[in-house]
């Protein structure tokens, strides 16, 4: 067959497969991330169907996926919101870091992975999936709840922490000296501080300067600026992902809103490619061997997230049920755990890291939404009144599958 024809057939087949998996995830009201990972494990090296011609495209697409994931994450929050979260949410954020980073590092060392992979594993267990959590809050009708601002500010803190962690991990991965690590983290800190200050003062103006009336111009400008900044930060050893994140923070107001609308479809496509890539570069044969430690780590870090949410919510005077909800909402790990594991796997080192992280994210991205729905269960006497909300959601255009069922799949 023609080489070009084979490339399109393979790529098309892969993306169609992803569409099928995403459809399943929507129908079961779960995050699509574990589905994409499973899809990636099935194809590629060691899987059932080897991918040959499209490997290069998938590899570059995956890198682009990481950059777009981080750019959209930066667009999610304005500089003002980030600064406020730093000021008011620092205690809860630091507790979250201590409680959820440590189990990963400890597990890595216990399994004999060595220091560098253990530090990556800590990153994997630390960061909640802001994508999954944000969707849960909306679907379950928790947006207006009293514990929700605390959950959101913990997520914001994690994202800022990641901007510091990624360059640190990048230096660790390269086996750099302590001096190199300090320099990279210093550069990242300086960049973050600079962007936060500049964006808070001139963000809207900068957004308006870059943005024109044409969607086409805006899309090209945004992607171009992001890639250039990503390249520059990569050169500074600060990691391309952090550069993209900073571009996202730098744009705020109206401009950020329209940038999100423009880039979300692009992000969804390339992020899916990224998850598949992680799956297909992981050897599926190694998964059964790490399933037990992954499950143990999942159980431990589900408990530490619940503890984090419980503590933060109780400090704000939220009642017991709200504290459980705050904890359950934070359990889900997803896209950023895979980003960090991907960095770690690319750096080499322990072979067990990628399969362990894949198994861990498979469990946590599924368990998180289920746990949150379980926390949403109310005494039987109150179920009836809930119907009001469920009826109201049934609007034309919103399919049955998108409708949240607060009682979970069992109800």
């Amino acid at each position: 067959m023609h080489a070009q024809a084979l490339l399109w057939l393979e790529l098309g087949g892969l993306i169609l497969g992803l569409a099928l998996l995403a459809r399943l995830a929507v129908a079961w009201r779960l995050s699509p991330i574990p589905f994409y990972l499973l899809g990636g494990l099935v194809v590629g090296e060691g899987g059932l169907i080897p991918l040959v011609p499209s490997q290069d495209f998938v590899e570059i697409g995956a890198d682009l996926g990481v950059i777009l994931l981080l750019l959209l994450l930066g667009l999610e929050f304005t500089a003002v919101e980030l600064r406020r979260a730093l000021r008011s949410g620092a205690t809860a954020g630091l507790l979250d870091l201590a409680l959820n980073y440590t189990p990963g590092v400890a597990a890595g060392l216990l399994l004999g992975l060595g220091w560098a992979p253990a530090l990556f594993l800590g990153g994997v267990t630390y960061i909640s999936s802001s994508g999954v959590v944000a969707k849960l809050l909306g679907d379950l009708g928790w947006t207006a709840n009293r514990e929700t601002p605390l959950v959101l500010s913990i997520l914001v803190f994690e994202d800022l922490a990641m901007a510091i962690l990624l360059p640190l991990l990048a230096v660790v991965a390269l086996g750099g000296s302590p001096l190199g690590a300090i320099l990279a983290v210093g550069a990242a800190l300086a960049l973050v501080a600079l962007v936060l200050t500049v964006a808070a003062r001139f963000g809207e103006g900068a957004g308006r300067l870059v943005f024109s009336g044409s969607d086409e111009v805006n899309l090209l400008t945004l992607v171009g600026v992001t890639l250039v900044v990503a390249g520059l930060t990569e050169q500074l050893n600060v990691s391309a992902a952090v550069g993209a994140f900073l571009v996202g923070i730098g744009i705020s107001g109206e401009a950020a809103q329209s940038a999100r609308t423009l880039l979300t479809p692009l992000r969804d496509l390339f992020a899916a490619v990224f998850f598949v890539f992680f799956g297909l570069s992981t050897d599926p044969a190694a998964i059964p061997g790490v399933l037990a430690p992954a499950a143990g780590l999942a159980a431990a870090t589900a408990i530490t997230k619940i503890a984090t949410g419980w503590w933060a919510a109780s400090r704000a005077g939220v009642g017991r049920r709200g504290r459980v909800r705050a904890g359950a909402a934070l359990i889900a790990r997803g896209e950023f755990s895979v980003v960090i594991a991907g960095l770690g796997a690319a750096a080499g080192g322990a072979e067990e890291l990628a399969p362990l992280a894949a198994a861990y994210v498979l469990i946590m991205a599924t368990l998180g939404p289920l746990a949150a729905r379980a926390a949403d269960l109310r005494p039987r006497s109150q179920r009836k009144r809930l119907r009001i909300r469920r009826l109201a959601r049934r609007r034309p255009g919103s399919g049955r599958s998108a409708e949240p069922t607060p009682g979970g799949p069992a109800s």
């Binding site: 999610e76 929050f77 919101e81 980030l82 406020r84 979260a85 802001s130 944000a134 809050l137 009708g141 928790w142 947006t143 207006a144 709840n145 009293r146 514990e147 929700t148 601002p149 959101l152 500010s153 997520l155 914001v156 809207e204 308006r208 109206e254 809103q257 939220v318 009642g319 049920r321 709200g322 909800r325 109310r378 109150q382 009144r385 809930l386 009001i388 909300r389 109201a392």
Partner: protein, 162 residues
């Protein structure tokens, strides 16, 4: 007695406004960055959790405000109108593409050009009474203006076209 409305930022989502009614129910609105707004009501036994959430379109929100009798500023101005013949009071919404979005009252020279006074600006649920010339408009603001009907007409034109 005025009700104290609590304002809580929701990073990445928007702002939540809420208060507790005399009956002890927490009631409020979530304004999303995207322009969505949700009315919510919490139950008495779990005041932290929104029991009912209602999505409102802009028109529905305005209709609800009308039914409820408008804000306190509106009521106060309705009283004022009765006292002065020939005085026009109107509410003008600043379109996102207005040339004055982001600029100040002073920049627009509203008083000089139209003889109309901006007596208050409503931003979301928050009123800014008696704004000074340094007050900067932002898109979606509702301007409460007082002047002659002609003056108000030309101000509406000015805000749209510059």
């Amino acid at each position: 007695m005025t009700t104290a409305i609590q304002q809580t930022p929701l990073p990445g989502v928007g702002v939540r406004y809420d208060f507790t009614t005399e009956e002890g129910l927490r009631l409020g609105v979530v304004h999303h960055h995207s322009g969505r707004r949700q009315l919510f009501l919490c139950s008495a036994d779990d005041p932290d959790s929104a029991r009912v959430t209602i999505e409102l379109t802009e028109d529905e929100a305005h209709a609800l405000i009308d039914v409820l009798g408008g804000s306190q500023i509106v009521e106060a101005l309705a009283g004022l109108r009765q006292q002065v013949e020939g005085l026009g009071i109107d509410w003008l919404t600043l379109d996102p593409d207005s040339p004055y979005a982001g600029r100040t009252i002073g920049d627009a020279r509203i008083r000089t050009r139209t003889g109309v006074s901006v007596v208050a600006v409503l931003r979301g649920a928050v009123p800014h009474p008696a704004p000074g010339p340094e007050f900067a408009f932002s898109p979606g603001d509702t301007l409460v203006v007082v002047g002659t009907p002609e003056g108000i007409g030309s101000l509406g034109h000015l805000l749209r076209r510059g």
